[in-house]
């Protein structure tokens, strides 16, 4: 019993705190990604203009797909597999992976893309 708190808090101590990353399966953890920072990037850039994003006020867009349960989705944009490496590329440079997509290249850095990906995997 005494081992429980240590197991629960370990991921938090490892810098995966906030936004429920502790619930993110290992396969979806984004190296160097900080979900809390990613959420701030999503709000600053205005992803919600196109996407419905649960938990972000005003994010009720209808141009792109809803990001509800995004972490459980198999494909990104119906084009590439929903894997962390792909997602980091997609959120920054979607047209490079899907030339016909309406989603433009977004004005974020590589590190911010990692944060955004980490955030998206909290949408379970």
């Amino acid at each position: 019993m005494t081992a429980w708190p240590a197991i629960v808090t370990l991921p938090v101590l490892l810098g995966l705190g906030g936004c429920g990353e502790a619930d993110t399966p290992i396969a979806q953890r984004v190296v160097g990604g900080d979900g809390t920072a990613g959420r701030a990037v999503v709000m600053r850039v205005g992803c919600g203009a196109c996407h419905e994003i649960p938990g972000i006020l005003g994010a009720h867009g209808i141009v792109g797909p809803s990001l509800r349960h995004f972490a459980r989705r198999s494909m990104i944009g119906g084009v590439v597999a929903n894997q962390p490496g792909m997602l980091v590329r997609w959120v920054r440079e979607a047209p490079a992976l899907a030339p016909d997509t309406a989603m433009p290249s977004m004005p974020i850095t590589e590190n911010e893309a990692r944060d955004v990906a980490a955030y998206l995997y909290t949408l379970r």
């Binding site: 006020l57 867009g61 141009v63 989603m103 433009p104």
Partner: protein, 326 residues
């Protein structure tokens, strides 16, 4: 309601605490208004505490000691004389301090026409030093420390122009022009908002005022006089051609290409603005695409139809073109 509240919450500019606050004055008029406000807040607070104290005293103190609170002299003095003197003094103080608010005897360095329209702000920098007027929208750029004369009009219903950090509010009334003089005391970005209910999207009718050092302002204005940037990348060229082909030019002007509509905002330098949809969303290719494809979903009741006839690549091309118009 949720939707109405939504947009303004989404547009979060970093490090912008107090950019829309009458208690953080960054202009001469706003300072006067803030000063009067503080006198009223503190004075009213003190008087409120005094009245509460007297009430408790009258209720709780032994009657022999508190009977003076029921005397005629005290009731007339505290109930009539005190309020008349205090409120008259406040009126004289307030009027003498703020009588000149909104007006200026100085010759304005810049004259700008601002027209309220449902639900955005048409902006025109008037001829200046022999140079042509410049049309813009939803953003006002002004030089710091110089008087700026704003001519306020309305194209439809009554709006009210309010930038709390810089000045008081002044209505924009159809068929009339009101003049407001403002002067920013510090460089920075301030947020303004329509302050008179004007229709379904009243709450989403905001704008930004950017105060530059005077030389930077002149440079900024000179850049805005230039026609739209010539596209370099293929996607951007395709976006420009589509912009014309789809008919965006029926409502929008982009100087330098075949687009000279006057119904909607001038887009010649739209990519350089801080927001789209009049303060609703940050400005980038993504939000521009969202606006083009679903403007009636994002801001129902605005005059622009949702253009959901473009393919993914076409939408991205037009949005990327608009973003490139710095």
């Amino acid at each position: 309601m949720r939707r109405l509240l939504a947009g303004s919450a989404v547009l979060v500019l970093p490090g912008c605490e107090g950019i829309q606050s009458a208690l953080a004055p960054k202009g001469a008029d706003a300072s006067l208004i803030a000063q009067v406000s503080w006198v009223v807040f503190i004075g009213a607070g003190l008087i409120f505490a005094l009245v509460l104290g007297l009430t408790l005293y009258a209720l709780l103190a032994p009657q022999a000691r508190s009977s003076w609170t029921a005397s005629h002299g005290f009731i007339i003095g505290g109930g009539i004389v005190f309020p008349v003197v205090t409120l008259t003094a406040l009126l004289v103080y307030g009027l003498s301090l703020t009588g000149s608010v909104g007006r200026s005897t100085e010759v304005p360095a810049v004259r700008i026409e601002v027209t309220g329209e449902q639900f955005w702000w048409r902006v025109r920098y008037q001829e200046h030093g022999g140079k042509a007027a410049v049309d813009a929208a939803n953003e006002l750029h002004i030089p710091v420390g110089q008087p700026v004369e704003l001519t306020l009009r309305s194209a439809d219903v009554i709006h009210s122009f309010w930038v709390p950090n810089l000045a008081g509010k002044l209505d924009m009334i159809p068929g009339q022009q009101n003049v407001l003089s403002i002067k920013a005391s510090a460089p920075g970005t301030y947020r303004g908002q329509c302050a008179e209910y004007c229709g379904i999207q009243h709450a989403q009718m905001a704008f930004y005022v950017v105060a530059h050092p005077p030389e930077a302002f002149e440079r900024w204005l000179a850049e805005r006089r230039e026609p739209a940037a010539e596209p370099l990348a293929d996607l951007v060229k395709r976006g420009r051609d589509l912009f014309v082909a789809v008919g965006c030019g029926a409502c929008h002007t982009v100087r330098g290409i075949d687009a000279s509509g006057k119904i909607g905002p001038d887009l010649t330098h739209v990519g350089s603005r801080r927001s789209i949809g009049a303060g609703m969303w940050p400005n980038n290719a993504g939000t521009l695409a969202a606006w083009i494809a679903s403007s009636q979903h994002l801001k129902p009741g605005n005059k622009m139809p949702s253009f959901n006839v473009l393919s993914g690549t076409e939408l991205r091309a037009v949005a990327t073109y608009l973003e490139s118009l710095k």
